[in-house]
Symmetry: C2
Subunit: 80 residues, 2 copies
Amino acid sequence: MTKARVTVTLKNGVLDPQGKAIEGGLASLGFDGIESVRQGKVFDVELSGSAKDAESQLADMCEKLLANTVIEDYAVEILE
Amino acid sequence: MTKARVTVTLKNGVLDPQGKAIEGGLASLGFDGIESVRQGKVFDVELSGSAKDAESQLADMCEKLLANTVIEDYAVEILE
């Protein structure tokens, strides 16, 4: 079995109102010195195949479902 | 300036209907051999202070706002 982590983040330049809201929330809680916050998603996927197969399969999953590649970047990391 | 990534994931044993829905979506797209999918959140935070200060400040942010520590775990990673 292969465990992998897929991280999906907004591309640079894409507005992130959710991140802005978190930034405001942190500031109002008294946290100083926050320059920016951007939010993304993480998917922990367990696959039955080998790590080698998993990598290309996960990239395919990102292209088709997990990420919106117009506005998002993704990174696949094989954990074990 | 310090860049950090905070990853918030559901604790083991906590139900993840969103992850289950993604699992179903991937299966219906024809992806085989998926054992499980669990979804989490990632926050890319830029802070003006030093990396040393950032780590404890970010842990504090997680406890107070970014994570619900009853059902979620968090990990702080200083990137630069």
